[in-house]
């Protein structure tokens, strides 16, 4: 640290910090929060590097910011604090608002301590001296400008939507449908038995969004748990949430912004290399589980997306096809690293597809009514009827 003996000082209102910490927590596997002055920036990345979150608090957010001591050297002080330790300071959030008047954050590089001091009711002072380690600069490389699609909605709209999914659900698929509708559906594993899996799907009308500029037929699948954490924060802070996404495999970026705060959550999405080869085709049949693994390898790479019965876009050039079970086969590759994004001079976080996930297609065939003859030579049983005829 050279001769820089001073520390930084901020005195922000405490609860957004606590809430911010709580939001970072669901970024599973995160063990550290990187504090990067001069702005207070909390950043976290999970161990599989498939999720990155950053909270940037502008100097205006704080009542007081001062850097004590001689001016810092070129090398800024960046420190990494154990997530658990940091969150431990902001435990019992509901009472924080009522009991804590002021929060002081002091970075003491020489002593390797991050001091968080809460000034509470009745004159009580809680001082936490957290040990920290220096860390490399933590920055995920992403560019919202490069995303083909974006949506913006009040957090409440999305929060009310995800409440329909079970708490244990790992991944959810967001898709752009016809008529500007946006759908959210739970993502079903390949290994799940098609006939025994519940699929929940809901549609949001275009007018629920403040802005919706999405590529038709686009869809992405990402981790719901981490997203929920962000939604909690977004609702509490009453800010609209913007979603930027591109093709499957490229990260999805969620942002919240106002004058003093900037939050990003970047999540890897399940990749699907053949998704952009053919546009999805409409068929008026409702939802359905993903096809099983045993599908033949030599199928064509077109697929059917499940849409509600309504007209689909022009330009797909293909007439509606009768119910036809099809999917992109699963080549049983294990998760492929996301194509390399350009890195900055220091190491950035490279987002990979979430671990332990084979890449798979996100497209579904239709439900065949029992007894109906199959229309494809290679019929895949997608929905077994209850007496197990198939």
């Amino acid at each position: 640290m050279g001769g820089w003996g001073g520390g930084h000082l901020w005195t922000p209102p405490p609860s957004p910090l606590g809430l911010g910490g709580d939001t970072l927590c669901p970024v599973r596997g995160v063990t550290s929060v990187c504090v990067c002055p001069p702005q207070l920036s909390l950043r976290a990345v999970n161990s599989s590097r498939s999720a990155f979150a950053s909270f940037l608090f502008a100097p205006l957010f704080f009542q007081l910011y001062e850097a004590r001591g001689p001016p810092p050297h070129l090398e800024l002080c960046r420190c990494k604090v154990l997530m658990k330790s940091f969150l431990g300071v902001f435990r019992s959030l509901p009472s924080l608002e009522k009991t804590v008047g002021k929060c002081l954050i002091l970075l003491k590089p020489r002593a390797s301590r991050l001091v968080v001091q809460l000034h509470c009711k009745y004159g009580v002072t809680k001082t936490h001296n957290l040990t920290f380690q220096e860390c490399e600069r933590l920055q995920a490389v992403f560019d919202t400008q490069r995303c083909a699609s974006s949506l913006c909605a009040p957090a409440r709209v999305l929060a009310e939507a995800v409440v329909h999914f079970p708490q244990t659900l790992a991944e959810v698929t967001l898709a752009a449908g016809p008529g500007g509708k946006i759908s959210l559906r739970n993502h079903v594993e390949d290994e799940a038995e098609p006939g025994k899996t519940m699929v929940t799907e809901l549609w949001l009308a275009e007018d629920e969004f403040q802005t919706a500029a999405v590529a038709p037929g686009s869809r992405i699948t990402f981790c719901l748990k981490e997203f929920r954490g962000l939604l909690t924060f977004a609702e509490a802070s009453n800010l609209p949430l913007t979603v930027h996404y591109d093709v499957p495999g490229r990260p999805v970026i969620f942002t919240l912004e106002d004058a003093v705060l900037e939050v990003h959550l970047v999540l890897a999405t399940l990749s699907d290399p053949e998704s952009n080869l053919q546009p999805p085709m409409a068929n008026g049949v409702s939802h359905l589980p993903a096809p099983s693994d045993e599908f033949a390898d030599d199928l064509g790479s077109y697929m059917i997306a499940m849409e509600p019965p309504s007209t689909y876009e022009e330009g797909s050039g293909v007439p509606p096809i009768p119910p036809f079970p099809l999917c992109i086969p699963d080549p049983a590759e294990s998760d492929t690293e996301e194509e390399e994004e350009e890195e900055e001079e220091e190491e950035g976080a490279v987002l990979g597809t979430p671990p332990h996930k084979k890449f798979r297609s996100l497209f579904f065939g239709s439900v065949l009514a029992p007894g109906e003859p199959s229309l494809a030579p290679t019929l895949e049983v997608l929905a077994e009827d209850s007496d197990g005829e198939y």
């Binding site: 330790s85 002072t125 809680k126 001082t127 936490h128 001296n129 040990t131």
Partner: protein
């Protein structure tokens, strides 16, 4: 023959204080009470139940004669050893939550040496009679904590300490208590994996009912020993914290019941000498 008669709700905090917090996970076989045995001491002015805790600490439940409807102890002092889990089970035979409007009455009778302790519990016309075998009293650790040796004393409203105790960093082996006529006045510190944490209560805080500190003292106590008394803190309205010349700690929790009657839970603890100075 000693006979004690009191409404249940005076006794009600007792099982709660001594029972295991259901949120605490322990690999030990499930037992409601972390302390298996207790001594019950009766004298003309009070009934005292002293849980057998690990050495170097002591937890007791004190009921003054005044809160009993009937308090009849013939001898100067009667002591016996009793299984605390069994006692708690009997006391809570009608359930652990006090139903409003259905007061439970408790009568305790003890005939004397080698006789069982008789408990009569009545609720809504239903009477339960319990006979609990008693044993020879064990030699109890006398902490010899007397007021004349008290160096520092503060009385705090429990409200201010509850959350603090619940959030104590349990990765710290010790709780360090600093009491001083000068700053920081009254400080609780832990030294855990995350670093150190300090909780300071100024002498002029609204929470401070009484502040009598004569000398700066810093003592450390094993946090595992202190934890069982935090239940009492949750139920109490005030707590008195005293340290004596040897650094022994006395915590007295004042618990007020619905009738406004008071009972006390007393906790004593030796300072921990073994633990080396942790860096700040």
């Amino acid at each position: 023959m000693s006979s004690l008669n009191l409404p249940w709700h005076s006794f009600e905090p007792f099982p709660r204080i001594l029972s295991l917090d259901p949120r605490e996970k322990s690999s030990a076989p499930p037992s409601r009470c972390p302390f298996e045995w207790a001594s019950e001491q009766l004298d003309r002015s009070k009934c005292k139940i002293i849980a057998e805790t690990p050495l170097s600490s002591s937890l007791s439940f004190l009921l003054q004669a005044e809160i009993f409807q009937e308090f009849d102890v013939q001898e100067d002092s009667v002591t016996f050893r009793i299984n605390l889990s069994v006692l708690l089970d009997c006391l809570t035979v009608f359930g652990t939550s006090a139903l409003p409007g259905t007061p439970t009455a408790l009568r305790m009778c003890y005939r004397g040496y080698s006789y069982p302790l008789m408990l009569f519990l009545e609720e809504g016309g239903v009477v339960t009679v319990c006979k609990i075998n008693t044993q020879e009293p064990d030699e109890l650790l006398d902490f010899d904590f007397c007021s004349t040796n008290v160096v520092n004393k503060v009385i705090l409203q429990s409200e201010g300490l509850r959350e603090a105790f619940a959030e104590l960093d349990m990765t710290s082996e010790v709780l360090q208590i600093t009491m001083s006529p000068d700053k920081p006045y009254f400080r609780l510190s832990t030294f855990g994996n995350a670093g150190s944490a300090h909780l300071d209560y100024p002498r002029d805080s609204d929470l401070m009912e009484a502040f009598h500190c004569n000398q700066t003292q810093t003592n450390r106590y094993k946090i595992s020993l202190l934890k069982p008394s935090t239940k009492a803190l949750a139920l109490s309205c005030e707590v008195s914290i005293r340290t004596d010349t040897r650094g022994f700690l006395s915590l007295q929790y004042m618990i007020r019941n619905e009738d406004g009657q008071i009972c006390f839970v007393e906790y004593y603890c030796c300072p921990d000498e073994d633990i080396a100075e942790a860096e700040l």
